[in-house]
């Protein structure tokens, strides 16, 4: 990366010169080793130096005698990892939620899966794991064998506390507004929401743990299964991290083919959400129209990848399948047809009175809150928080392709949907450019099966926002640790904030404007 990141590093150095070790170029822009609670001071220095400091993820590691905690922080021009360690027999560390409130669920997850106690974090209980998970067993520790864990028997009868004055509406795990099993207990007074309690983990499959017992090649297909809609982004996230460890340079043709796949992913995902939003506000016609026009994109995915949903195109060292020259005209006509339909949809979203009535000023997330809660993707860009990994830290061929970063400032549901609307058009442009400028040459290089010891982070802009991967290898064919932070996981806090005080009828449109994907969130 260019020298633009010097300021933040020098800001940290000026404050904490001798107390921390800064390793430039590791795990993003720099990795900073801290001890004795200094991670908070580093973080404070960063927040003071750059108002756009937000948390991307927290990775927990089992290092034998100690537990490692990696805070992955993004600023306006850098990506910095702060390392901290706590002893396994007394795994206590101070929370950072008072500095960055958006870290609350990140910490909660690490404490659930690795047993780290974050002092000062208000959440307790299970977040990802089952309610019947035995006490003191933390699945991501190396001594825990996943298939030997015995769950506690469920209690015979669950007693609910009774308070006649409040009505608690349970949205999920099975609910027509949610396509995936997740629970939000919404407390309402009359029709006004006063409290939202989330519970995720209904489809927690333990993919992070499972990936440790599979080879790198198998893991590409495993992480792809985290999410059906943005599967190529997940595969790319993993592959990108592994390639960084191996220091593999991917051939240019593969870079362009990857961009095409990733953008097709974004196209169909955005069309899906734009239609689904119609369903949530009772506009079935809009839903049917969008999903009709999404179908040709699915055909393109099948054309380029061989499969309608799981293209499995990404592999370490390139892509698995070349694009035939004879297929390019079909891609171009399909995209051209979609582009012709866009003005109709745009004026529908911009001018249709009932859509505006249901979406404008609903779920307003201010820019400051968006940064504090560390949201990502269209949710951030709809609030004027202009982050887009494709522009901020261009990966693959994105640096060579001209496109616009879409930012809206009103921060409501309507803005978030319009960000997606505009991105559909940008995606079409990107794919057309990539198809026109496709370099010749090989589309894959061979890489060794055993990955050299090392660690790397990889970020990419999935349809729902920044998707984060951390991979640590120990020199064998099996990874030591794979950490995935999905965009929806980062966006849930914003929903909990914006839903309060709104009408219960605003909950579904507000919620769907995050484009939530829970099977990703659970992993």
């Amino acid at each position: 990366m260019p020298n633009s990141n010097i300021d933040i590093i020098s800001a940290i150095e000026s404050k904490l010169k001798d107390k921390v070790q800064i390793h430039l170029g590791q795990l993003g822009t720099a990795a900073i080793n801290t001890s004795n609670g200094l991670h908070r001071d580093v973080l404070k220095a960063m927040v003071e130096a750059d108002e756009k400091t937000a948390i991307s993820a927290i990775t927990g590691l089992d290092l034998g005698a100690n537990l490692g905690i990696l805070y992955h922080i993004r600023t306006s021009n850098a990506f910095i990892t702060i390392r901290a360690e706590v002893p396994k027999d007394n795994p206590k560390i101070q929370t950072i939620t008072d500095i960055i409130p958006g870290a609350v669920f990140h910490e909660f997850e690490v404490s659930d899966l690795l047993g780290v106690v974050f002092e000062g974090n208000s959440l307790s209980g299970h977040f990802v794991l089952s309610e019947y998970w035995p006490e003191g067993v933390y699945p991501l520790r190396k001594d825990v064998k996943a298939n030997e864990v015995k769950l506690n028997p469920p209690p015979a009868e669950v007693k609910q506390p009774e308070d006649k004055n409040i009505v608690k509406i349970i949205i999920g795990p099975q609910h027509p507004a949610l396509l995936e099993p997740e629970k939000f207990a919404v407390t309402v007074e009359g029709e006004t929401v006063t409290k939202v309690e989330p519970r995720i983990g209904y489809v927690h499959r333990g993919i992070e743990k499972a990936s440790e017992s599979r080879t790198y090649v198998q893991d590409v297909y495993l992480v792809e299964r985290i999410c059906g809609i943005c599967n190529a982004c997940h595969a790319y996230g993993f592959v990108g991290a592994v390639e960084k460890i191996l220091k593999t340079e991917v051939p240019p043709r593969a870079k362009y083919l990857r961009v095409i796949t990733l953008e097709l992913n974004r196209l169909h995902s955005h069309l899906l959400t734009l239609g689904h939003a119609g369903l949530e506000i009772g506009y079935e016609t809009l839903f049917q129209y969008f999903w009709r026009d999404r179908e040709p994109i699915m055909d393109l995915i099948e054309l380029t990848g061989g499969n309608r949903v799981y293209a499995s195109l990404m592999t370490v060292g390139g892509v698995r399948r070349d694009l035939k020259d004879s297929d390019i005209p079909k891609i171009k006509t399909t995209l051209e047809n979609l582009r012709k339909k866009l003005p109709f949809y745009r004026q529908l979203y911009e001018n249709e009175p009932s859509i505006k009535a249901r979406m404008q000023n609903v779920g307003v997330l201010k820019r400051e809150d968006a940064i504090k809660l560390s949201v990502v993707g269209p949710v951030a860009r709809g609030s004027g928080y202009d982050i887009d990994v494709r522009k901020d830290e261009p990966y693959e061929a994105y640096g060579e392709i001209p496109f616009k970063k879409i930012v809206y400032t009103s921060g409501d549901t309507w803005a978030r949907m319009n960000v997606r609307m505009d991105e559909v058009e940008e995606s079409i442009n990107i794919i057309e450019y990539a198809v026109d400028h496709l370099p010749a040459g090989p589309f894959r290089v061979d890489v060794p099966r055993n990955v050299t010891a090392g660690e790397a982070v990889s970020r990419n802009e999935a349809p729902r926002g920044e998707l984060f991967y951390y991979v640590k290898s120990n020199g064998t064919a099996y990874p030591e640790r794979v950490k995935v932070r999905t965009p929806t996981f980062a966006n849930i806090p914003s929903f909990l904030k914006t839903a309060i005080g709104e009408n219960i009828a605003d909950v579904p449109p507000n919620f769907v404007s995050l484009d939530p994907c829970f099977s990703c969130t659970d992993r």
Partner: protein, 328 residues
């Protein structure tokens, strides 16, 4: 002495059987039309073009298991849908379908108010059915039904008075048969407002807040199963037919039209059904065109726009009847 003619009229035509078949037919038209407008095919399998699908759905539900929630108010829960259905069919019996209404040849003066009251009672029974099921979704949905129909009943009554004013009678038969010029031409403003208020009264988009499935799951039907659910669905469909029929009687010259040969009753029924279908198509078109409003938006639309407009419409009508129509 038993009046077989009257029994036939009540049971077969234009009474119960006819109304039931008409309801199922209208439901099919609605579903098919909505599907075509949304780029879908709609019912295809049961009967030609899926025309028997509503009947098949009804029979299927009748065969399903009946489950009652432990906390439900049993009596109300059980009987509210059935009574609501009965009342709606009874209300339609007062409308002249084949030139005369089911029960008498002329109705009586004031039956317009009676059937509007019936429709209100049916809405109230639907509210009760959801309330009695003791389910949070049902409860909220019921509260919305109540809020909404309290708001839209008044404008609907006021707007229904417009044709009554022009005809100078509260009897539907007189209103329908005195339209030498259909009232839609004499008072188009009232017609448009009446369609909108009707749309709200029937809980169709953009006013279908009580059964907003994205937040309320099944709405007041959430706990209903089997036959009771079948009758809830049927009540909704009959309500739609009733609404459309009322529009036909009040604004579209009732069942009257040219009689070419044979029985006038046959032609009257035909015209009635055709006009009814036209109204159903218009309302269904509105339904597919809009998103669902929020309950507070529905209410403010009602109190700020529809109600003042209804009063204005009535005043305008009175002025027209007094000063303008006599000149024409």
């Amino acid at each position: 002495m038993i009046d077989f003619d009257l029994i036939l009229r009540i049971l077969i035509f234009p009474g119960f059987t006819f109304i039931l078949l008409l309801t199922l037919f209208c439901e099919w038209v609605e579903r098919k039309l909505e599907a075509r407008l949304q780029n879908r095919v709609g019912p295809m399998v049961a009967g030609p073009g899926g025309i028997l699908q509503p009947l098949a759905d009804f029979i299927k539900l009748l065969t399903k298991e009946e489950i009652e929630p432990r906390d439900a108010k049993k009596t109300v829960f059980k009987f509210a849908p059935l009574i609501a259905f009965t009342i709606m069919v009874f209300a339609i019996c007062f409308l002249p379908i084949d030139g005369a209404s089911v029960l008498s040849t002329t109705g009586f003066n004031g039956d317009l108010i009676l059937i509007l009251t019936f429709s209100t009672i049916a809405s109230f029974l639907l509210f009760l059915s959801g309330w009695a099921s003791c389910n949070p979704y049902g409860t909220i949905s019921s509260a919305r039904v109540l809020t909404q129909f309290l708001g839209y009943d008044i404008p609907l009554f006021l707007l229904a008075l417009t044709p009554a004013f022009i005809a100078g009678s509260l009897s539907i038969f007189v209103i329908a048969s005195s339209q030498t010029v259909p009232y839609i031409l004499l008072a188009p403003w009232a017609f448009v407002l009446f369609i909108i208020a009707m749309q709200a009264e029937l809980e169709k988009d953009p006013f279908d807040v009580p059964d907003a499935e994205s937040e309320l799951v099944g709405g007041l039907e959430t706990e209903y199963t089997g036959g009771k659910l079948a009758f809830l669905h049927l009540t909704r469909s009959v309500q739609i037919v009733f609404g459309a029929a009322l529009v036909v009687e009040l604004f579209l010259d009732g069942p009257h039209g040219p009689v070419f040969f044979g029985l006038p009753a046959f032609w009257y029924s035909l015209w009635f059904v055709l006009k009814l279908l036209a109204v159903v198509i218009v309302t269904e078109y509105i339904t597919t065109l809009f998103a669902r409003l929020r309950i507070d938006q529905v209410l403010s639309a009602n109190w700020r726009i529809i109600l003042p407009a209804a009063i204005l419409s009535l005043m305008l009508t009175v002025a027209m009847v007094t000063w303008v129509y006599p000149l024409v």
